[in-house]
């Protein structure tokens, strides 16, 4: 009875993971650029971060090195912190301006 992990490692090539990662990343980036709702934009950022995480883990497994795991933990920590701060900012913005339209929050310019 072969281990599932071994089967997957043997049968699913690295490129598939990377392609999935790219797809997720592009969806995230496109969403970031196209969507106007701040919450959605925020979610897109999370999506990009996780796409990167996926490629880290895939490389880590393939190369039998633990570095990728460590990086992905760092990314998760940053993502968690960012979620906390980001959501707080979004809440404040909404309280002050009663809008979540990202283009209307543009006072940071000359």
């Amino acid at each position: 009875m072969p281990d599932l992990a071994q089967v997957l490692a043997a049968q699913v090539p690295l490129s598939w993971y990377l392609i999935l990662s790219v797809i997720l990343f592009v969806i995230g980036a496109a969403g970031f650029l196209i969507r106007r709702n701040i919450i959605t934009v925020f979610m897109c950022i999370e999506l990009m971060l996780n796409a990167v995480n996926l490629s880290f883990i895939a490389f880590s497994h393939k190369l039998k090195m633990v570095d990728g795991h460590i990086y992905s933990f760092f990314v998760m920590v940053v993502a968690a912190a960012e979620a906390a701060v980001g959501l707080a900012i979004i809440l404040t913005v909404f309280k002050n301006r009663e809008t979540l339209e990202i283009d209307e929050v543009s006072s940071l310019k000359l």
């Binding site: 980036a29 650029l33 106007r36 934009v41 990202i102 543009s106 006072s107 940071l108 310019k109 000359l110």
Partner: protein, 616 residues
Amino acid sequence: MQHLWLIPAFPLAGFLVNGIAGRKFPKPLVNTIAVGSVLLSFLWVLKVLAGLQPLEAAYTERYFTWIQSGFVNVGFDFMVDRLTAVMLLVVTGIGTIIHIYSIGYMAHEDGYSRFFAYLNLFMFFMLVLVLAANYLVLFIGWEGVGLCSYLLIGFYYLKKSATDAGKKAFVVNRVGDLGFSLGMFLTMLTFGSLDFATVFGKAQAEGAALNPQTITLICLLLLVGATGKSAQVPLYVWLPDAMEGPTPVSALIHAATMVTAGVYMVARSAPLYNLSPMAMEVVAIVGLLTAVLAATIGMTQYDIKKVFAYSTVSQLGYMFLGLGVGAYSAGVFHIMTHAFFKALLFLGAGSVIHALGGEQDLRMMGGLRSKIPVTFTVLLAAAVAIAGVPPFSGFHSKDAILLAAHAHAPWMFWVGVATAAMTAFYVFRAIFLCFFGAYRGDAHPHESPLVMTLPLGVLALLSLAGGYFNVPHYLAPLFGGEHAPHDETLVYASVAAGLLGIGLAWLFYVAAPSLPERISETLGGLYRLVYNKYYVDEAYDALIVHPIRDGSRALLWNIVDARIVDGAVNGAGALARSVGAGLRMWQSGYIRRYAAWVVLGSAALVAAVAFWGGAR
């Protein structure tokens, strides 16, 4: 240790106390501090000199190393030899007398404590100058007395002519100081030291081995400095204007002491000058030229202080003549006697001006003989001294110079004799215009207080008898046996010239008062030329001041400053602003636009890495 440093330290302390707190002090306290500090200094000089007699070799005190850099090693050293001793006595002695006189003269003036603070500061620098054991310490004093001269000429700072005169003195002296500095640098390069002992020792030991052109150049550069400080041709123009200062200042700084600094410096550098006959010749000719030029101008002036100012220039010319013909001790002798009678002339003139409530024009005086008899008596004493009437002081020193000049070149003697006649003429002209005839002014003359007449009396005694201090004999070991043969005929000639000058002045201004006018009309253009001081000021204005000013305006101001400097500064600002205006376009405030830039940038980075291969 003789504690030479105490000599200048007393006046410095007086300056600091009066300068900082003097305005709050009552006048008697200011007087006590100012006069007391100089008097203490004088007494300390006496004590030091008494302790050092017979002073056959120079006595040096080293305090600390001032500059130590490479082969440059300059110490802060003071030195006393016989030349210094004479100068110290003159400076502190005359200084004390003039300080006392100033109490009376300045009694009703504003800025009383400021005046005395400056005077004390001057004494400090002058004593540093005289005591210095190397050229650089001498230069401290040299610059310092120049500063005090500037401050005191411009003492009445609300008067534009006074501040202008101060600036003129300062600027003209800078020209001389440039020469002096260059002379010092060249001395440093040639001898590797600025110490008098080292430099002169090497000069005497190596003598012929040194490059004569270098020595001549050093001497001429030092002479440029001396012409600035001692008001010789061509840099004498500041001294007559310096009479804008209070009269005691004219007496102390611009007659008795500071202006002799150049003479002192040249005499101090005698071992160098001895190596360069050409430089000596230049010194003699500069001195003679100055003596004649200033004496002729002095004969035509009507401001009593201007007459004496040109007289000072002329007498300084005599001193340079003495130095130039190798009679250093005669030159220094003349410094001393001149300090006596010229200080007296100025202080006496100050007493006259004081008596007349500020009047300086000789045409507004006359007949004062009976009204201010003490002043008249002392001024007469000064006049016979400067005119070279035997046996008074001027006769001794002037004759020493003239005899030496005759031994050097007879024509110099005869020019000097002619100048002596002119000297006697202009001094007695001033005396006769001031004290004889009828009073032409409208003030109410009154004799000066005792605090002024007492110093005048002391100076009068010195002027009359000062010739019997045998300075040339005292200085002989220092300058070697320069002994001009004593020739009775020559002495008679110069005395006769002096008496002739006095007689002519009597004829012109007492016996036949209309004569001078007729003569000046007959001479016409020549008289106007001399009366207007040969238009030297105007010539300097046209040849030097205006070209420099206009050139500076056209080139330095309108092009270098306005275009290049301002252009660079404004250009930097404008550049930053225009770059900023371009970059501001990026700062739209739209988050998604920033994100797009990030994506584009990352894509470009990835593309670049892919294209060029990236880091391996």
